[in-house]
């Protein structure tokens, strides 16, 4: 018999899925930026990672970090085209073990992570009686089956919550959904600093595994952060892929929110932008896309580059100028002379632009300077 009337009481909230809605009910619901792994401005692969404690970005907004001082394990992080079939994704992140460490030092850690500004998280009402639950969903694949840990770290209040997920079948894309309870303790700073750090653990020494997994929010105890985590680094045959990462308010994972490439890129450019074409890694090419400024040099023989960024930055950016493949300089041309020059001074730096002064050897009208530029304001 046909149903003639449907009221709100007829359908439970849980049965109203994104797929049943005629429109996207909550645009920009994904707290994660570049969750489809489509943007990789710095280049598509970096090898030999793990030699020190430094963090490394390869794909935009996703940082790889190890405690390399206590291990010989090495990795290659890359953007890859291996993706789950029929889900709409075209890129993934791949972490490949290139030098193994089967016997980890107690202080070792290895994880993939993204950091979120506090001002993007205020609607979660963390630290109040109305704190929202949040749900993480992602696709993952590895030859190394077993237990892995996903962590949300409250960087403002030194609190964290950690959940395990299981890779059940080797070399098979699996979708994982994890719901984290809301936290009624510890409000997040309403600023441009890192308030949430999302960790996907890959390997952990006993300093991080010897306690009881913090499946509810608690003040950070390292021993409770990665209990049960497999050691991805124990063989050079091991690799780990991830894509379709989405973190959203509530207890239900909606379908992944695909954004147009221009929107996704602009969101990444708040943290990092370059003058190079999107497919060109910095420092690998002179053309195309380099900036060419025509002007006069001042009384101190400096030509000045004054520019606004394409996208306002999270904070005042670190600037890296390139002439061809050489960082720290620009090329110039004026009547009777040409060459390269380093910056003599810089000022007026802010979220939206900069002024940099380059010596060109003489006061002269009609000076061209050419360069590529990286502006980096990542967390």
């Amino acid at each position: 018999m046909a149903i003639s009337k449907v009221t709100t009481a007829s359908i439970t909230d849980a049965d109203i899925t994104t797929a049943k809605l005629a429109y996207d009910a909550a645009p920009f619901r994904n707290i994660i930026i570049n969750g489809d792994m489509s943007i990789a401005q710095r280049g598509t692969s970096t090898s030999g990672l793990g030699s020190d404690g430094a963090t490394t970005y390869v794909l935009d907004r996703f940082k790889f970090q190890v405690n390399g001082s206590v291990s010989t394990a090495r990795y290659t992080v890359s953007q890859d085209t291996d993706v789950p079939t029929g889900q709409g994704f075209v890129k993934s992140s791949k972490i490949d073990v290139t030098t193994a460490d089967a016997s980890l030092n107690s202080a070792y850690y290895s994880f993939y992570r993204q950091e979120i500004e506090g001002q993007n998280l205020q609607y979660l009402k963390k630290g109040t009686a109305n704190a929202e639950s949040i749900t993480m969903s992602f696709w993952v694949k590895s030859n190394k089956t077993g237990t892995y840990i996903c962590e949300i770290d409250d960087n403002d209040n030194s609190r964290n919550i950690n959940k395990s997920y299981t890779i059940n079948s080797a070399d098979t894309w699996e979708k994982k959904t994890i719901t984290f309870a809301g936290d009624t303790t510890g409000t997040l700073d309403n600023d441009n600093g890192s308030s949430f750090r999302i960790f996907w653990w890959l390997a952990a020494g006993t300093d991080f595994t010897s306690g009881t997994l913090a499946t509810d929010w608690e003040s950070t105890v390292n021993a409770n952060r990665a209990v049960g985590q497999v050691n991805l680094a124990d063989s050079t045959a091991n690799e780990w892929y991830i894509t379709g990462v989405q973190l959203e308010a509530g207890e239900v994972a909606s379908d992944f929110e695909f954004l147009p490439i221009d929107v996704n890129l602009q969101r990444c450019e708040r943290y990092y932008e370059k003058t190079y074409n999107l497919s060109v890694a910095p420092g690998t090419s002179s053309d195309p896309g380099n900036r060419r400024d025509a002007q006069s040099s001042d009384g101190a023989s400096n030509a000045v580059a004054v520019r606004n960024y394409k996208v306002r930055k999270r904070a005042t950016a670190t600037l890296t100028f390139y002439t061809g493949t050489t960082s720290g300089s620009v090329s110039y041309e004026r009547s009777g002379a040409s060459g390269t020059s380093t910056v003599n001074a810089w000022s007026k730096n802010g979220e939206n632009g900069y002024a940099a002064y380059f010596g060109v050897g003489a006061s002269w009208s009609g000076v061209h300077i050419e360069y590529h530029l990286i502006a980096d304001a990542e967390l």
Binding site: A54, L319, S329, N344, A377
Partner: protein
Amino acid sequence: MITKVEKTYNMDGVTFSGYRITKNNIISLVPLDEANTDYQAIQQWIADGGTVIDNPPE
């Protein structure tokens, strides 16, 4: 890894405007912004014993 840090100045030759650093063999300019993670790394590098080169313009 940071291997070299120098002070940079405004065009007045007096006002300290930031740092020129060499990190992983790449030369960059770092602003005096506590929210900038390279600035934070420089402060840690100094705390760990690193020496900043200071050659004000003449």
